[in-house]
Each structure stands twice: as C-alpha cells, then as structure tokens.
Amino acid sequence: MRPPSPSIPEKDFFFAALDQDVRLDGRGFLEPRSLDLSFGAELGHVECSLGKTRVLAHVDAKMVRPEPQRPFEGLISIHCELSPMAGAEYEPGRSSEEETALARHLDKIFRRSDAIDREALCVLTGERVWHLRLSVHVLSAASSSSSSDAAAAAGGGGGLLDCASLACAAALRHFRRPEVEVHGTGEVTVYAPEARAPVPLALHHTPFCVSFAGRSSLKVRMLLDPAGLELRLAHGVLVLALTAQRELAVVHKAGGLPLAPETLIGAVEIAARRARELETWLDVHVRDDWARKNVEVR
Amino acid sequence: MSLLGLSGPKLTLKHLSTILLMIISFFPPPSLSSVSRGVTGHPPDMDEGNDDNIYMDGDDDFGAETAKITSPGESITSARAFMRGHGTYVDSDEVIASVAGVIERVNKLITVRALRTRYSPEVGDLVIGRITEVQPRRWKVDANARQDAVLMLSSVNLPGGVQRRKLESDELQMRNFFQEGDLLVAEVQAFFADGAMSLHTRSLKYGKLRNGQLVSVPPILIRRLKSHFCSLPSGVDLILGLNGYIWISKHVRNNEKEGHEGFDAEAVYSNQNDDIDDATRTAIARVSNIIRVLASRSVPITDSIALEAYEWTVEQDVDVKDLLLEDVADALVAAVTKEPSEQW
C-alpha cells in the first residue's frame, strides 16, 4: 500500500524552510546524513546504513564455464531484492518500480562502467572463469513514495541508491576469492583460505553514487542526500555515480525540474568531492575490518 | 579483417556524396568557443524559413497586417502590460507562447490559438458526439474534447413529450434511447468542476442522428455561424458541429420537422435508417468528399463554401470518387477560395 502523499502543511513548510535555507532535519544543503558500515563474518558481507535506510550486500564467487562468445571473461551478476520488509509500500512477490530502477542503476554503476576487471576473473580460457554474484538486499527503506521514475531511482527513505551502491562498493572491496592454480594439463586447483591467502578482486575503479534533489521555490536548490520527505516533494532527482578520480560512471537526470548546465556541473563538482571523501572513508573501514579479521593485506 | 580494412576508406568516400545533404554543421573548437549561444556557427543557408524576425519585443506589432505566427517558448510581449490568455504562460515578466499558432489580442488579453488542437468547448456550442459509455443516469459522449462529455438523463427529451417526467424505468432502459456508438447532436449546457462539459438535447433540433454519415475535420475549421443546420439543394442536410464533427444526411422535409403533422415522435430514438434513394446517397457522398478535400487544404467549412463547392463539382461534372484525386481537389479548392472580387 502506498502511503498517502505528504499533507499540504508539510509541503508548504518544506518550501518555507528552503526559502530560509534550512532543511527539515537541520542539515546544511550539502550535508549528507550519517553513514555506517558493518561487516559480517564472511569477506564480502557488508551492511551499510545511511540515515534510516539500510542495505545488505553480499558477494560470492563460483567457478563456471564462460560464455562461448567471451571465453576470456568472468561473469558478473547483480541481484536486487526490495521486499516488503524494506517498507510497507513494496508488495510481496511483484518487483516494484523501485526495485527495477535500483537493479538497473547498480548494473550501470558496477557492471556497465567496467568497474570490475572481468578478464582477471578468467581462470582457464574458455574452460573456467569466476562467476561473481552480488546480491543486494534492502533491509529498510521506509516511507518512500514517489510517483516519478526518477525519484524511484534515487529510492527509498532517501538515499536508497546511494546506500546500496556504497554497500556494493564495500562488499566488492572487502571480498576475496580463493587462490587458484592452473597446472599445465589444464587441471585447476582451488586452495582453501587456510592453505593460501585468498586474493582480492581486481577493481579498475570504485564508483560512488551521489543523489541530489532539485527543488525550485524561489530559485533552484540542490540538496545532497535527500531524505524521505525531501525526495517525495522534490521537483527532480539527479543521480550521479563517479569515482574519486573524477570519472563519471552514470549520470541520470530524467525529467523533473529542468536544470541549467552550470547547476549540473556544480552538482558534479560537489559529487566529485563527496566521492573522494567516501573513497577514504570506505578504505579506512575496509582496512579496519581486515585488521580485525587478520586478513593478510597485499 | 582485410575486407573491412578495405571498405573503410571506400565507405568514407561514398558517404561523402550522401553527406552533401547535410545542412547542419559545426566548426572545430576554436571558432565554437568564440561564438555565443544562439548564433552557433551554422552556415547562412541554415536560416531558410526563419527569415523574418519571429520575436516581437514591442507591443505595437499587433496592429500589423498579417497574422503573427508563434511557437512554444517564444516570448510574445511583456507580462506587465498584458494579460496572458490561452496558449501562453508567464515566465520572468514575459508572456510566452506554449503552442504553435496565431497570436490574438483582445484589449490587454493575449492568446495564442493553435491551428490543430482538440475542441475546447464553450457554453451554447453545438456539437456532434458519439456515445462511449452508459453510466447510471448519464451517458459519456466523445466530442473530440480533452475529456468525454456528459449527457445526463435529465438533459434529454424522452419520447412522450417535453414535459414528461423521468421515471425509474427510464433509468433502466437508457440503452433504448442512446447506446454505445450512437451519434447525436447536442448543445453544451454547462461545465463540471473538473472542466468536463455537460450536454443537453432538450430541443427537438437535437437528438439522435441517422440517415447519413459523419466526417471529422479539425475543430478550428468550423466557425460559429448563425445556424449550424443547413440544407443543400440536392436533398442533403448538413450539421456543422463546432467540435469538428460534421453530419451529412438525407434532407428532412419541412413538414416532417417537429411541431408539424408529419413529425414522427417515435422515430426520435430510432436506430433504423429511412429509405434513401441512390441520388441522395450520391449527393451525401459528394458532400462528404468535398468536406474532406476542403479540410485537407485547411479551408474553413461554412454552408456557403460547401454550397459553392457542390455547385462547382456538379458544373464541372466531376465524379464523386474523383474528387479525392489531388489535381481535382486542388482545382476545387482554387475555385472556391478565389477572392470575392475575382468571382463577381
């Protein structure tokens, strides 16, 4: 069941607050909500929370035969689940618009942008490659309700996509696949983690997703990391995914408030700064956990 | 590999011949960065069809001889001195067109009239519609507007006299009066809060249509006339609905009209056509084709122009089906749209 749309006083108040440069939760316009990352016992099992939104990402790898037309490349599949447990508005059984949008965006951010070196997942040409499966489970994305597709993409209790992509990035960084050795005869030995230290994935780059809500009351304002109500009342949503090296992986601004190119470029610059912050933040957290788990860092 | 390698340059060469048609081109970066937005360096021949200045800054352009054409996003005038009407919106103190069409001004009110659009009803308009749905105590009627019109059961005349009260039994047999697909002529009575129009047929001129065929034209081609019911001499009646629907039917003789002894009250809601002889059928087809031709050339349709065109086709002895041929159509339109001075 869709929650009812925001009431008139809420809407008017949100406008009035923006005109006075205040956000409803007291944040600055470019201030994100607090982030938290917790790792599971396994490598590649990560839970990320952004405000009240929580997402679990899990990576596992399995050895399969490659597709005949790409014998040198490993396979990557991304699976998303946005079940009713994430919020009352998601129906069981049916994949919601938000779920499709989330899957599509994660696919663009991590797979189509070539974030993961697929050739490094090849074990034996044409015979054996790793199949990397990235499962994303949204644990909580409360009180979203968005009629437009763009808002749906940015998702949930606000920052669903941001949170999910961060969880994925962390999981991919955190994950290690077993070491393998190929013998001359074409025989492949997979070593247990105890025997030989597992190897991290070869990542070309790590894109971070940053969403903005656009709102024009007196003038066009861009809000970083919009929360639930802000997202529902937004005139338009801009989704950017980019790396700390200032490389854009995804720009998605479909519909909503038309933006001046300068505004867009301004947002990209802010997002680039945010991506750098996230990169360091993520790095620190992943290393901390490795240290805690006594994982050999190579 | 070698094959493709060969065809590469060949491709480029051959393609050049087709690319000669390219009309839009960009210059390399240095020149680009030096020119400002809006005058980006496209060659001068680009500007064809754009020769006259479409932007009118002043407010004195309205007295000009020719009608002013505009299209969405174009600034028309200052919003301080003028009021915005249909087909415009206001942004940063300017009245801006939102449709492509003709600028009209009535005193301080600026409107833009689109030349092709759905019918926008006004109270008192005569329209022709088609029943799309039968609902409790009302019919939904497609009248070429942005929403289906509503015909309330209380807004129709039922057989048995004008003063007859509507009974519950009438509610149950609404399909006996109008059912889905029936055509009717009605008048716009009022509007609902959401902008949908309400129709009525409480006049014996209005009601169900039979004995003819419907032609649909753009609503702008139908003008408000003294009467929208007209008879052509060849035994054909014409009803020009302001919504662009035109009904062409067999002539109803005067003594069969309402209030005369020949008037058949039972036939008001009949679904059965009368006998129509071949000559009348041909005449109906001829008028239909004339209207199609006029509409295709965007000629406004009035009783006089239809009559004139009818006479021309008879005079020229044009076969009905030949009317739709391009050259005949052109000749017909040229004949009827001659300047009045040349005609007399």
């Binding site: 037309q69 790409r70 189509r112 942008s113 597709d149 005139h235 200032r246 490389e247 854009l248 995804v250 720009v251 998605h252 479909a254 519909g255 038309p258 933006l259 001046a260 470029i265 990209v268 | 493709l4 590469g8 480029t12 051959k14 393609h15 087709t18 690319i19 390219m22 839009i24 081109s25 960009f26 390399p28 970066p29 937005r37 809006g38 069809g49 754009n50 479409i54 020719t66 009608a67 299209s71 969405p72 600034s75 919106y89 939102s98 492509a100 069409g101 009209e104 092709r116 659009t117 759905r118 497609d142 942005r146 929403q147 959401d194 902008g195 949908a196 081609l221 003008r223 006089s304 009045p340």
Partner: protein, 292 residues
Amino acid sequence: MRHTPSICGFAFAEWLVISLLYTDSVLTDEPAQSLRIEILNEGGFRSDGRRQYELREIAFDSSPQAGADGSARISHGLTEVLVSVFGPREARVRAQTLHDRAAIHVEVNIAPFSTGDRRRRGRGDKRVQELAAMIKATFEPVVQTGLYPRSQIDIFVHVLQQDGGVLPAAINATTVALINAGVPLADYVCAITGGVHAAAPMLDLTALEESDLPHVTVASMPRSGRLTLVSMETRLHVDRFEEILRLAGEAGTVIHTEMHAVVRQRTKGLLDGISTGLRASKPAEDAMVEDE
C-alpha cells in the same frame, strides 16, 4: 530517380550491409572494434566523413498520420522514428487518471527490422521500457499537464531504423508531434548525443560510434538553456563531461532552429488555407485569425 539507381542509393545500400556487419559485432561486444575502423582519423574526419561537431542531416515530416492529433517522423541520418500523439483525451483506464493534471503515457515500439540483428523486442523488454520511461520523464515537466486534469496524453513512438541516437531522435520527434497536436509546452525539447574519442569530443554519434565510445544523451530547452534529460552510462572524465554538455547545449540550439522552421512552415501552411478560405467565403466581418 525511381528508375535509375542513383549513386547515392547504391552507396546507401552498400553502407547498410556494412553497418549490418558492424551491428553484428556490436552484439557480441568484441573489444577489437576500434582496431577495425578509425573513429576519428588524422584528418579530423569520422568514419562516415563527418567532422567532430558535424551533425547528420535532420529532416522532419509533419504530414498528419490519419487519426492522430499530432504526428511527426524524423529522419536523423539513418535513424528514423515515427511519433504519434493522441490527446489530451479521456483516459482509457480510469484508475490511471490524476486529479490535478493530465497523465502522460508513452509506448515505444522498436521494429525488428530497425537493426541488423532483427531482434523482436516486446513491450516488456528492458530497453524498450527504459526508453519509454526516459521519454515520459523528459516531457512531464515540459508539457503543461496542469491544464488538463483527469485527461491522458498518449505518445506512441515507433523506431523504424536505428543508427545511433534513437533516444534523441525520439525526443525531437515527440516535441514536434506534441506541437502539431496543439499540446501546450513550456518550450521545445532538443536532444542530441555526444561522445568522446581519445579526449576529442564528438556530436551526434552513429551506432558504430556509440558502441565504441562513452556517450551522453542531453535534452535541452533552448529558451532557458536548461536540461531536462541528461543520461550517461559509460565512463567519462568530469572535465570531458562538462565539455560535452556545453557542446550538446549548443547543438540543441541548432536543432531548435531546424525544428522551429518545420513547425513554422506547417503553421503557415495551415494558416494560409484558413485565411484564403475566409477571404473567399465572406467579407472579413467575423474574421477570427485575421487582424481587424
């Protein structure tokens, strides 16, 4: 022209075969693509002989498709898209009506013969759905839907030929079709693709170029210069992105001129018919479109 196969026609046919070969390889996504054909040669020419910022020919045909309230066919290079607009009209499904504005409904149909691989894409196809969602999102803020509460505007997009830039072609054709239907818009929407090859930005990519280069689709509104759609899904450096954005904005104004000329010509044609008709039928006592 019809009797003798012209050189153009011949070249065209052969080109089609070649592009067919390429699209086949696009399917398999072989990375060796750029080895086979130069995207931008030393002379500054692209594979089809254009320069970096040169657009392909764009032609619109506004001739009405019977029954539609407005329609337009665009041929943009070899890409061809037909768009029909119906409405604003009574909503077919009452549950979908919005109480304060018109609902826009977009349906995209990609003809199987529009590409070399001849794949039938049903309505449920991901790409088709995404294309429809993008077109819908692009026009929602531009169409003045608030004027038509509870109504519905249907946009049917038929992709007849694909050679890169399908989305921008569809958007441009939709703009013209909506204008032809007399639907009020805040402004034109002009869309174009841009890409980058080895730090050299290019505009209006063909299918061949699209499969090889990072590219961005940009839809802009020429009056304000604002962007209603920006979509990119391949890796690109921020600085390059800014450059492309700027170029695409300028290309938008050029396309606008083109679209504007088409709309104006059509409006003029219709108006001519009306005014000559009026002059003929009566003295201009109740002239509606003429000035007093």
